[in-house]
């Protein structure tokens, strides 16, 4: 049972952290909850569909379907996170009520739930189908899901203790790092499918010190994109995305005079 709990929790960590961060980002914004939980629901529904068609998906594109699907949804999430940050920089915190910005974040949540959820759905389905000691494993799996939900809550309540004037800066930084980490993962899937074969050498190996399959490693993996054996391409994708979003955000930030108006309005 503990094994099932750990497997499911490990899968759910990423989605849990993303949901917690997005809830904190949109805190107090009217109408935002519908988008966030709509994203969770859409992701869960999508996860069920993906799990049902897992076989067809992996046979697609000469056996590259899974990798391409993962790379594709990750790319969508990166674009959405970048869009959100640039949008927020341009409109200031007043834009927290912007529906376009909510939609981008809802997509990010949906993608996180979709990706992690499809593996969880398959795993739980496997337990149900196998019959043997199913009840115990199933309980463990559900407990893992509950822990994931708890992690979302913990992330949210942890973040909202940050004073409001800092919260904006903190969440902007977190979303930028999140996007960079997802871009690196996306690059990893493209390499796994041999779509990209360049820059495949491993840059460092810290798997002995902090394996990214451990719980703490997973948390760092999601929050800052930590990978214990990154390839050169992953590093390039990470740095490029990070720099790209930072520069685009700077360019989108209104000039000081305008910014002061926003500050006064707070």
């Amino acid at each position: 049972m503990l094994g099932a709990l750990i497997i499911v929790f490990r899968e759910v960590i990423e989605a849990g952290l993303v949901i917690g961060i997005v809830l904190a980002v949109t805190r107090g914004a009217r109408g935002s909850r519908a988008y966030v939980f709509g994203g969770v629901a859409a992701g869960a529904l999508g996860a069920g569909v993906v799990a049902l068609f897992a076989d067809a998906l992996s046979q697609a594109v000469a056996g590259r379907g899974q990798e391409l699907f993962n790379a594709g949804v990750l790319a969508v999430a990166v674009v959405m996170l970048a869009t959100h940050n640039i949008w927020m920089a341009r409109h200031g915190r007043a834009a927290v009520s912007g529906e376009k910005s909510f939609f981008a974040l809802a997509v990010v949540v949906a993608v996180a739930v979709l990706r992690e959820g499809s593996e969880v759905a398959l795993f739980l389905y496997g337990i149900l189908a196998s019959g043997e000691t199913a009840a115990d494993l199933f309980t463990g799996g559900l407990a893992g899901l509950a822990l994931g939900a708890g992690l979302s809550a913990l992330t949210y309540f942890g973040l909202v203790t940050i004073p409001a004037r800092h919260l904006f800066a903190v969440t902007t930084a977190m979303i930028t790092l999140l996007a960079a980490g997802l871009a690196a993962q996306c690059a990893g899937f493209l390499q796994q499918a041999w779509i990209v074969t360049a820059l495949s050498q491993t840059v460092w190996d810290t798997s002995g010190v902090l394996p990214d399959s451990s719980i703490f490693g997973r948390v760092l993996h999601t929050l800052i994109g930590y990978v214990d054996q990154p390839t050169a391409l992953q590093l390039v994708a990470y740095v490029t995305t990070l720099a790209g979003i930072v520069i685009a955000t700077r360019l989108a930030t209104p000039r000081p005079a305008v910014a002061n108006v926003h500050a006064a309005a707070e």
């Binding site: 897992a54 992996s58 590259r64 389905y125 390499q191 779509i195």
Partner: protein
């Protein structure tokens, strides 16, 4: 602007798929039965791309996972997947079936 970006990515992907059809690769096969790998030890030459077809003969899904090989791929019940590996240095690379880690263990020996 957005649609042109998507087009660019699609074009890059298409070009990449074409270029990635590698010649001179080692093809291996392994199957899963009763949550165990049938050949728990695979052998392959170094410095050559490798493909492994993983056949799942169980009715339950499994996740073929290897930290060392950077592979994490789900294989549905009674189905198969293709795992592609870049040219590897000599060594022993462990892999597991993540959903049944206690029994599903294997190793790829590159020499």
């Amino acid at each position: 602007m957005k649609s042109s970006r998507i087009l660019l990515v699609a074009a890059a992907l298409a070009a990449g798929v074409g270029a990635a059809v590698a010649a001179d690769e080692t093809s291996l096969e392994i199957s899963i039965k009763d949550h165990r790998f049938s050949t728990a030890e695979l052998h392959a030459p170094a410095d050559k791309p490798i493909t492994i077809v993983v056949k799942n003969l169980d009715s339950t899904p499994e996740e073929f996972e290897s930290k060392a090989l950077k592979i994490e791929k789900v294989v549905a019940g009674n189905a198969e997947i293709t795992v592609r590996l870049r040219p590897l240095k000599p060594g022993r690379y462990h892999f597991v079936g993540e959903y049944h880690e206690a029994t599903a263990k294997g190793e790829l020996v590159v020499e």
